[in-house]
């Protein structure tokens, strides 16, 4: 995998981040070094090993499907600057 300017710009774009030219220049060798370091893991055999999504075994935590207390509409909207008629107001879809 060639970690170059174009790849960094592409991945940043997928993450909804637009990097400045200086950031691209700075990040490219840094991220390349880190990604190369990650390949150390290739040295360890993990055939027949299950992945651990959590460090301790966790079972599904289920509860009865009954309504409980939650934030009311006013509270949910308290921290936004963009609201209208009790709704969040977002940017245009297209």
């Amino acid at each position: 995998m060639n970690v170059d300017h174009d790849l960094i710009i592409k991945v940043a774009g997928l993450s909804r981040i637009k990097l400045t030219d200086e950031e691209v220049k700075e990040f490219t060798p840094q991220l390349k070094e880190v990604l190369e370091f990650f390949t150390v893991l290739d040295k360890i055999n993990t055939d027949d090993v299950e992945p651990s999504f959590h460090p301790i075994e966790i079972k599904n935590a289920l509860r009865d499907d009954t309504p409980g207390k939650c934030l009311n509409q006013e509270e949910a909207l308290e921290n936004t600057e963009h609201k209208n008629d009790g709704f969040f107001r977002g940017p245009g879809a297209v």
């Binding site: 360890i44 959590h54 921290n79």
Partner: protein, 484 residues
Amino acid sequence: MKSTIEYIERVSNGSVDIKKETEEVLSNLDSLNDKYHYLGAISTGLARELSNNVSIKPKGRLAGVYVSVKDCIAVKGVETRSSSRILSGYKPVFNATVINKIISEGAIIIGKTTQDEFGFGSFSTNTGIGIKQPVNPFDIQRAAGGSSGGSAGMAQVADFPHISLGESTGGSIASPASFCGVVGLTPTYGLVSRYGLLDYANSMDKIGPIGKTVEDCALMLSIIAGHDEKDSTSYNPANSKEKSDDGSKNIDYTKNIDRPISGMKIGIVKESLGEGVDESIKNKVNECASDLKAQGAIIEEISLAVPSEYALPSYYIIAVCEASTNLAKYCGMRYGKHESLKGNFNEYFTKVRSKHFGQEAKRRIILGTFARMAGFRDAYYLKALKVRTVIINEYKKAFKNVDALLTPTMPVLPPRFDEIKNLSVLQNYMMDVLTVGPNLAGLPHINIPYGMIDGLPVGVMLSGDHFCEEKLLNVAFNIEKNAP
């Protein structure tokens, strides 16, 4: 200074004028903060309200104790931003579970402590745009450690009864505790509820206490531990196969703390005393081992080759993958920084995120997005999760033979800011080499101050098996009592 527990007794029997005392504490916070930058927000109103409550009803296991809270933990009505500009102005409309618990026990919350933005760092030098970095209490030219730097610094400089709530993902409690010369306890993953914690990496985030003494940390753990149905990963003894000697029922972790440790087996991890660790720090760990031996413990050298070599890359891959998904929600819509609503949603979200995330947050988001992309997911993310299994198994095997593991906490003394500037990104990540193993495996671990070198504090770290906090605190207490 008298112990926190004695102070709580005095508050409880009404012999402390808590409102007056609170005013004194609050009046000194500004000047303290000017020098050290430990608090991103000072919660004067809340502190007064809580001290008033305590003055009316001076009861509770934390009655009158001042608590600072890492900025990534939600406190209702107090700006909570994980030291990130993207969350500027965000005042949660609810409390994290740990906050409700400490308030109901009489704690007085004084403010939110500074940290690396979202926890992304080992020195607290990655605070978000416009947020001052906490500095080391022993030398303001040096780092406080991270990411809970403000919490550990506050624990060191507070000249009033105080315990901080920190949070660790890969070493963010142990590291600053070591650099600031205080005790920092990271509990087993799931023992303390994460409800109301602003996630860094869900499968590794743990809230834990930072205080002046082992007893203070044990006291705080007794209050914050326990199952919470609002956190689906919270440990539920009734629903778990995990065997524990002390589990998570309502335990008083201070109760058996001073038991003698004669006959306990402590493993010194061979690899933790290898290359890259300062000789002077290694000497302190050996000194600590000699003391434990003198107290009747059995010291064994133990090798943990797989965690020592592979925990760091495995940790960073999982951490950035989880972080990059967690940070997707910060887009200027519901809380924090907003911009004027121009352009389509992609343009708007991109504008907000590009402008208000700091450099390290951007780096980790890009790394995590890359490692989860089609074609790379198996090679990075899934591989790291499998390596985590191997690492957990190796630790579990070790704990069949020993009660706790002893290592240094940090490989170096607190570095100067100009030295940190010269480190590469990868060299920064390497600073976590000793702390990531227990964090990745969800094991409880504790930093205990062990003397000074050249005027700077050194810490030793003890790690234990899952849910063996009681045993860990017992050994830690016995280290602390004889520490230089």
